[in-house]
Symmetry: C2
């Protein structure tokens, strides 16, 4: 008999932890593209986790797409995983829908609307449990990703509360920044916080105007650096915000943020300046989607989605391991067509791939 | 740049789902070896899941060993995974301690002592949620393993309730069958059930004298066979009991049980006869531990642990893929020494490897 299939578990590949959650903030109309229908917004992180885990939805039975048909960045992360199989896990930072992806519990529940007085209950407990998880990870290098609808709005809230440069990206091609700013202004007022009031008090910022993914990610970073693990934050302005929280928590160790050209090219943000403010090194990967004739890649190139679900981080991992971006692009279209059907991929941009109904067996 | 490390995700390797839970039954003195100290019994499945996931405890900080130092079968399953990296996930069927292994939620909580009137609350809901998970799995072949202290006692209860051949194995070298029978007699009496009363009523058997791992595994089997997925149950008499539950639920599809020679060689059981009763095909793998001079293998060869944590199933997977059992044995000692220290491995059988304290950060 010959040894085929599996083969030895790869050593020394950085582990990817996807921190996944939801908030009532994410359901505010018009601030996020994470799901074409506001009704499925709460499903998006659960579906994202399944797409990375299994290559398709399992319990969620829905593929998150933007209003114009741009697939969730989970499709990119899954495609990279199929080419470069990194170890990974999901941290439950407030999921509200069942997912067939295995999740690590850190005691988080759905975040509130930040326009309430309190945005995250028990944020310190989430942080503390996540710190224990981070401290125990056996790896030399861990990549932290996120998926949380409305995450750039809570990021904007936290940057303001901390007094940092308040700039955020968007999953929509035209960043609804005025809408986000209005939500954040209301949120700060509801919590009685002025810009900069939470400097040096990251938990106060999260509790007042943040989200549970921030609390979990901050705790993970603390546990990881305490055990001499290199940390890469995968994502755009949300992860720069997490880096800001870490700095305000007194973490002085090196932090890398790995993102995509889609975020850095977005003129509405000043990502590089924020990274510089925070002494964070920025790794930017260009997956070369522009000029593609496939809808899955075209919509990204047009400025949708931009980041999320660890996309920037796993693209950087693949690039560092010598995986050709042409192979990544090919695999993305393969995953997309496997999930959404061949027809969806070959149609003009703007079509909406089929999305299923929530499996009532596994309802909330 | 050359492509090193990860490499393409292997295709077509059966997925392993480890169904992990706890019961108050497992804490009855003298019925299980899953943890030297009854106080850490509840930790064992959480630690098992971490050992398979990470190769070491992460949040649990304890390596389950029998009173004489036999390591948990999780060490074997992890060793196989390092040589033949199968896709896998953990189903939470009533874990009570935090685990850093990602877990799939099916709404299960810890099972009661079967000597109460009800052993498993909401067993039907656990089964139904697990059915949804099983139905959505994208694989052609899934292997179901288990880890639940006291699982052979709840198995004995269920076999009696169903009226099947009531024989069970043990994780202890001298099977405390009289103790188990006494517990089961009390359990049946407390539920007002005579032998065979639950024939054709598997949920009644589980609810009265079973455990949540049985409810979840039954649901998974149902969902998997409904979506034309081949099912292998990895384990000994506990998994034959799950097969019995499936037969009593009306499932007529082929079911394979993959176990080890340690179970089949155990004269106190009549495993082959039970398999035959249930029209279940039995795959038995001999990992060749006898004659080893390493404590980790000696204790297995002496009849401890025998099975659990999908050990028999993953040994069969490795064997089918052409992995040499000599390589498996070498990897088991490597994992054991990595976790317990080199000294523990080279000492005479009977020593207890170091076990840590529960991380208070992550307490219940």
């Amino acid at each position: 008999m010959t040894h085929h299939g599996g083969g030895r578990m790869p050593q020394d590949i950085p582990r990817v932890l996807l921190v996944a959650g939801t908030t009532a903030t994410g359901e505010i109309s018009g601030i996020s593209a994470a799901g074409a229908d506001p009704g499925i917004m709460a499903l998006t992180p659960s579906a994202d986790a399944e797409i990375v885990a299994y290559g398709e939805p399992v319990r969620t039975d829905v593929v998150p797409v933007s209003p114009t048909g741009c697939p969730t960045p989970a499709v990119v992360t899954r495609a990279v995983r199929e080419l470069h199989s990194f170890p990974w896990a999901v941290v439950d930072a407030g999921l509200t829908r069942p997912t067939a992806a295995g999740t690590i519990d850190v005691g988080a529940t759905r975040g509130a609307d930040i326009r309430n007085e309190t945005a995250v209950e028990r944020a310190s407990q989430i942080r503390q449990q996540a710190r224990g998880v981070g401290a125990g990870m056996p790896d030399d290098h861990v990549v932290l990703g996120e998926t949380i609808p409305g995450g750039t709005t809570t990021a904007l809230g936290v940057l303001n509360a901390l007094g940092e440069r308040a700039t955020v990206s968007s999953s929509l091609p035209d960043n609804p920044l005025d809408k986000k700013r209005a939500v954040v202004d209301d949120a700060l007022a509801a919590s009685g916080i002025n810009r900069g009031d939470c400097a040096g008090e990251p938990m106060q910022a999260i509790g007042a105007v943040g989200d549970p993914v921030q609390a979990a990610t901050l705790g993970l970073i603390e546990g990881l650096v305490a055990s001499d693990t290199t940390v890469t934050l995968a994502g755009g302005t949300q992860q720069l915000t997490t880096a800001a929280l870490a700095r305000h928590a007194g973490i002085e160790e090196a932090i890398e943020v790995a993102t995509t050209t889609f975020v850095v090219d977005d003129e509405s943000t000043a990502v590089s300046a924020l990274a510089s403010d925070l002494a964070v090194s920025l790794t930017v990967t260009d997956p070369g989607f522009s000029g593609s004739d496939h809808v899955a890649l075209q919509r990204f190139a047009a400025g949708e989605a931009k980041e999320g679900v660890a996309m920037g981080g796993v693209l950087a991992l693949a690039d560092a391991a010598g995986v050709a971006m042409a192979d990544v692009r090919e695999q993305i279209t393969a995953v997309y067509e496997r999930i959404c059907g061949t027809e969806a991929g070959s149609e003009a941009a703007g079509t909406t791939p089929p999305t299923g109904e929530v499996d009532s067996l596994d309802g909330p």
